[in-house]
Structure formats: C-alpha cells, structure tokens
Symmetry: C3
Subunit: 313 residues, 3 copies
C-alpha cells in the first residue's frame, strides 16, 4: 500500500515527471486500471484546482469518484485520544477513517494549516490521523505542511519549459493581505532539492521557513540579487513561521513585476492576487506559466493515482 | 466551437425542437458521443431542475459530470480588470476560466442577476467573462438576462401540446413576494418571436421589460383581454425593469385562476408560489403543463449538449 | 414499484440478509442491472455513512448517482396543502417530487425528525410527501421514525457474528449531550421482532419508545439484568418520546463499559460519542462490531437497490 503524503513518497522525481508527460499525451491510456475502484475525496477546506483536477485524473483512470465537503456534509470530527465527547464533535477520527476506508480504495484528504497552533499544524493532525486509522492509501490534497500534488505539477511544468540542463529557479516570497499556509512553498522547496537545478529562495528577513525544510538551500534576502538571471520565478506568499501564522510584512516592493522578472518564466500555484503578488503585465504576458501549471495538476494527480492503483491488490 | 448563451445561438428553433423530440424517444441513442468528454457545471446560485436535468442530459450522452457550488466550494471571484486584489476576492476570473477550461470539454454556468446594479446585470458580467476567457464552449444555465435552456424546454412542450398550427400564447406577469430576475421572461419572449405563434405579453403598466427584448411583440395591459382565447398561458413574475429590481406591485388580481385560464394550458418554469402566482386548482388540474415542462428540461439540455459535442474536434 | 420506507417493506428478513451476504462476496456481480438507471440522493440532513455507502451501492450496481444537499442547493420546500406561498418556502413538495421523479429511476430521501413537533414527526411529512407525489420508488435514507438501511445492515452483521441459533440481543439506551431522534432504535427493534432472537430493550424509566413500535418486546429497566449473558449489546441514545424530544436523563451510569459488556459483541450505528455512549476500551477492543456494521451499510443498500431495480420495468 502506497500513500502519497509528501514529496518523500516519490521514489524518483525525474521518472515520475517523465511518466506524467507520457501519460499527458494519452490521458485515457489506462482507463481500465481504475475500473471497479473508487476514490473518496474529502474536503475540509475550499478548493478549485485540486477538486477538479484530482477528480478529472481519477475519471481518466476509469475510477468512480465520491466527493464530500466533510465539514459541511458530515459530522464534526474529534481528533484527541481519550476525550469525553460531550461537546460539539460528534464523531471520532478513529471511526471516521476506518469507516470511509471500507467504501473507497483510495482516500484524498484536504485539510489546511490552522495557522493558530504551530504544534498541531506541525503534527499534521488531520491527514496523519487519517493515515493512522485508514486501511487504504491516503492522498494528500494539501495538508498543513505540504502540497505535493502541486509541487509535482510544478516539476512537470518546469521540465516542459526549461531550456537548459540546470535552470536557475527562484522561489520568491510575495506580499498578501491574508495569512496563508507554508504548504506550497515547503513542497516546492522539497521537490527542487531533489532535482538538478540551481535553486534560490528569497524572502524578507524574518520570513524564514522551517529550517528542516529549507535545509541547505540558498537563501538570499535581497530579492534583486536572487532574481538575477533566473529562468523560472515562482512567487508565493506564506505567513510568518517564527511568529507563527502572523502577517508581519506587506511590503509592496516584493510584488513580482515584469521588470523584476526579466526574461524568466513566471510561476504561481493559483489562486493569485493580481497586483499584490504579481502585476497584471506578468500574468497577461507570455512568460506566465500559471495556466500550464494548473493544467499539469491533472497529470500530476493522474500519475500519482496510477502508481497508487498499481500497488493495490 | 459553439456556445449556448442565448436563444440567438439556436440556428433553427423548429429543427432543434424536432431533434429534441426525436432524442426524447430514445435518450441513450447517443451515449457514445460524450465518451471521454467532461462537463463542468459551476453554480453561483441555487438550482434544482437545472442542476439535475443538465446533469442527467450529460449522463445520457455518456459524459462525465463535475459539479461545483462555485461560490461555496471554490474561491470568491474578481471580475474587474486592473484591480489591486487586496480585498475579499481571492481569484480573478481570467485565471479561473482558463484553468477550468483545461479540466472540462464544456462549461455550464449559472449566475443570476443581482437585481442591484442594472448596468452590471445588463453586461452579464459572470457568464460573459467565462465566455471571454474560457477556451471551451460555455452553456448558459441561467444568467442575468436569459435562461435559454428553460425557453427551449418550453418550446418543446408547446410543440407537444399544441392543437393548432398557430396557437395563441400569452406570457402573463404574476405577483410574487420577492424580487425575481427577468431572465425566464426574456428568453421565453425571444423564442416565441422566432416561432409561428400568436404571442401576447401582459403585465401591469410600468412593468415593461427591456424593449430590446420585447421588440414589437404585442403588449396588452388588460390581463383579461390578453388571456381571451389563449391556448397556452405562461405565468411568470419578474421584478421591475425601469425601477430596477424593485417590487412595485403585488396585486393579487394578477394571479392566474382556473377561471382566467379558461380552456388554455398552463405553463410555468418552476419553482412556483402556489396561490400567489397561480391558484392550486390550476396546478392540480389537468391543464397544467408545469411537470411536462420540467421533464423537457432534460431533453432541451441534451439536444444543446449534443450539438455542442458535435462541434468539438 | 417497490418503495423501501421501513422494515415492513422487507418480505423476508432472513432471505434479504442471505442475499446481501451473497452479494457481499461479489459486489460487482450485478453491475449491468443498473445500467442506464439513475438514483437521486436528496439530503435534508448531514450524512457520512449513508451518503457514501448508498452511493457506493448504487455504483456497484452500475447506476448513475446524482446527489443534492436539498436544503442548501435547491429551494426551501412547502409541505402544507392549500397554503398561500408568500413566505420563505419557494417550492411546493407536489412539484418538487414530481419533477425529480422525471430525472431519476429511484429517489433516496434523508430527513430527520425535527424533535419539535411530535405530530409532524409521526406523520413523516417529508418522506411520506415524496412517496405520495413521486412517480418512482422512494428509498428511506433515515426519516423521522425509521432508519431501515441501518437496521438491515445490523441484521446482516448479527448474522455474520452470531454463534448460536437464537442469540441474546440487548438494545441499551445510552446517555448523550444532544437530543437525538428515535429512528435507529425503532428500526432496530422492528427488525429484531421479525427474527428468531432473544431480544431485550433496556432504558431508564420514562424513556419508553412508541408502544406501537416496542409492542410486546421485553423491556427491562435494570440495565445490569438486561445485559446479563448478552451475545450482542446495541447501544443507542434517543431523546424522550413522552416529553417529546427532551433530554431528561444524562446518567453516566448507562454508558456501556467493558465490564458491563462482558463477553458480548458491541454494536452502534455511528457516529458515536466516545466515553459518553461507550468507553474507549470497548470501541478499541476486539468485541466491537461498529466498523463491520458500517461496512455492511453498503451491502444493505445494495440488496435493497437491487430488489428495487428488479421491479422497475
């Protein structure tokens, strides 16, 4: 049984990227693989791309899809062990995960970071509890700490558009009016570290991500220096990691402009705040890859589901 | 590529009606046409008939269906160009429409008139923005100004029940406690104008619809005169067009009664307020076609989708 | 045409249980039976097991599934006859049920007891109105008074785990912080009465259920006496029937503990409040059947749908 919870669950990024690009040429080639297989997609948070692309990927593989807005349509879940459940939560994750496992062959879970309790977010309580109690493979559709379907789509997109063997790729923090999770940045960093690229992270001082994620990736606080000669610029906001979940900087100078971009390709996971994270000219110009990235979400999900299906007995 | 946004997208009403009636006899005849095709149905407003009948029509054609309550499940959309998106709206329509286009082959959109801003409603901002930025055909599941799937179902129903070559058809305004859009009335008027019928509109003075829609259709303010010798009476409330979106008349005398109906067939798009728009005796009698109309929603959607599918490469 | 509204719609419990167990061994054996058939699942209340297991059962039979959160996605329904509908409710059940019947072959309805108006709940207004006006078979996915899919799953589970011809089965009331319906208890009692079992109901004095349901089933107010030598203990809270819908007892001594359970198997319909209804040790031990019961929801629904499909022309 094969979970897909983080970038670590990819045994070879380059192989998976190649496999995804092969599959993209003929998306229905494996439509018998998922016959009589059902995926349950449980959403604890809003979703557009993940919801539709994962569903599409499963349908391309011939699977049946059951979708639930778990928080709204089901019962409020209790995650603590040993609780006397006489308050608002009606169902314990132990039962929920075991029960749902019996109706599905693969389980997709989307549960964002709360950004309120760093310890709980770090523990990935929701998805790890499903992993712990489910008897079927679990697919991460964005958890507190990671968004590995997005990162795989990003790697596929870079493979399609790169013009040199070792492109220069920059992940640049960008301003945002709201506090956002670190998941997308984390997974992008992790997948970059596994590839033959020249990778730089740039963000305002104080906005350091978890050092267990960034490891020895180059961090350059001067955005201009970081962006110099970049082939790909990936913009993404994240809220503060140290002063956890806070928005301590909204410096508009960090917005990606056409001038800053130079000749690089522009990347973002979407949804994107226009003229806050990046100016219109970039998104509306021909250096933007954001639509291509979103398209590759289908094929990232499809290669992951294909590999998960192949391990089912 | 063929959109279905208004009655104007029908090249021949009589042919489409005939095709729909043929298809109704054997709804699964084209179930291979939609194989490996996916329709995305995006709802910005509540729906019963449209939601189920459009879904059913797509399934009859062998399509996959992905449904989203867009406002609740996805991200709040920004429609203005050039905005600095630092407020509530998280995603711009430019990205949303392009992205969704990549997961689907046809896109259905339901977005009612706000009834607050006449200019915005007249511009059909939501559906026209999807049309503008989507790379796939767009299906109108009721927009600010029109509801062409309903009107086509109405035309199919009239064809089934008419007893003369040129039946007399009356669209009668009816009272309603809430402000409702003009979309259903508009599209019904438009499809009547394209057919060989004796057509009259009746409503209280001051409740004139957009003259660009009513054109030279006969308007008769005296409901009794209008209804005389009618073969079909279509009741429908709409809020005021001039004093835009207001309810300036709730005169109960405009309710359709069995007595007013005479020997005519009764039509309404549903949902209908019993004993406000029309009295129970009419709906519960055998002159009511409202259930037949709702049934024909499936076949209206199916003929439209069939024609859209046939234009896909 | 065959409805499944209550245990009374089962002609032979033992045969249906056997049929379900046969079908469980090869769930896809009848996947052609539901071809070109559509089930509509309309939810007026939250659901996890019922939503997923009924959907799964229909998919196993090759059916198409259309799901609606009726209250949220559609229109507020009016159930009164003769009302002047000038208030909040936009659509009358008469139209809604007839309309939906035209888009589906079978209609599943979930509508809980309000616990506010005993007379209305007793009349099963929602599901009985659908039954009255729908032109297709109606499936009870939990109504005010009964939950026959759950009870059938329970009977299947008991058949799988029983070790004697006539096992001793005890339905024990359990405390709960909220007022819950009597539906699960009612249907469990009804299905027990139709089987060759030694059946006892235990609850605090004053918590008697409808005597038309309990009939001459043994009621024992002393929980210890009731549980003695039990083979199966089914715990379930229900709110008061006489002082209708009230929570008049939260006595923790009624919680099922490992000690009380003895050597019996433990059953509950889920979701269950841990350490309120039953202690962790029971649910986490190997005498608990709650996960097996939830699994059998699929096969209970599947045998019911199979029998309903077989009666369709």
């Amino acid at each position: 049984m094969k979970h897909y919870l983080s970038i670590n669950d990819i045994d070879s990024v380059s192989e998976w990227v190649e496999d995804a690009l092969t599959l993209k040429k003929d998306p229905f080639a494996s439509e018998k693989l998922g016959k009589q297989r059902t995926i349950g997609l449980l959403f604890f948070n809003n979703s557009l791309r993940t919801r539709l692309s994962t569903q599409k990927a499963a349908l391309n593989l011939g699977m049946k899809v059951m979708i639930m807005n778990f928080g709204k349509d089901g019962w409020a879940l209790e995650f603590e062990d040993g609780t006397i459940m006489d308050k608002g939560n009606a169902e314990h994750i132990k039962e929920a995960a075991q029960v749902v496992s019996q109706y599905c062959d693969i389980l997709g879970i989307r549960a964002f970071a709360s950004l309120k309790n760093q310890e709980e977010d770090a523990a990935e309580v929701v998805i790890n509890s499903f992993k712990k109690y489910a008897s079927i493979p679990v697919l991460n559709m964005e958890s507190s700490l990671s968004h590995p379907l997005q990162a795989l789509a990003d790697a596929i997109t870079i493979e399609e558009y790169k013009k040199s063997v070792q492109p220069k790729i920059v992940l640049s923090w960008a301003p945002h009016p709201k506090a956002l999770p670190q998941a997308v940045a984390n997974s992008f960093i992790e997948i970059m570290q596994l590839q033959n690229v020249n990778f730089t992270i740039t963000h305002p001082e104080g906005y350091e991500l978890d050092p267990k994620v960034t490891k020895n990736s180059r961090i350059e606080y001067d955005q201009d220096k970081a962006l110099k000669d970049a082939d790909f610029v990936y913009a993404k906001n994240w809220s503060n990691y140290k002063d956890y979940g806070k928005v301590i900087n909204q410096d508009k100078n960090w917005m990606i402009t056409q001038k800053k971009l130079g000749g690089a390709k522009f990347m973002h996971c979407l949804p994107v705040r226009r003229n806050v994270v990046v100016e219109d000219a970039v998104l509306d110009g021909n250096q933007s890859l954001v639509i291509a990235q979103a398209n590759n979400r289908t094929f990232a999900a499809q290669i992951v589901l294909k590999k998960m299906l192949e391990t089912l007995k």
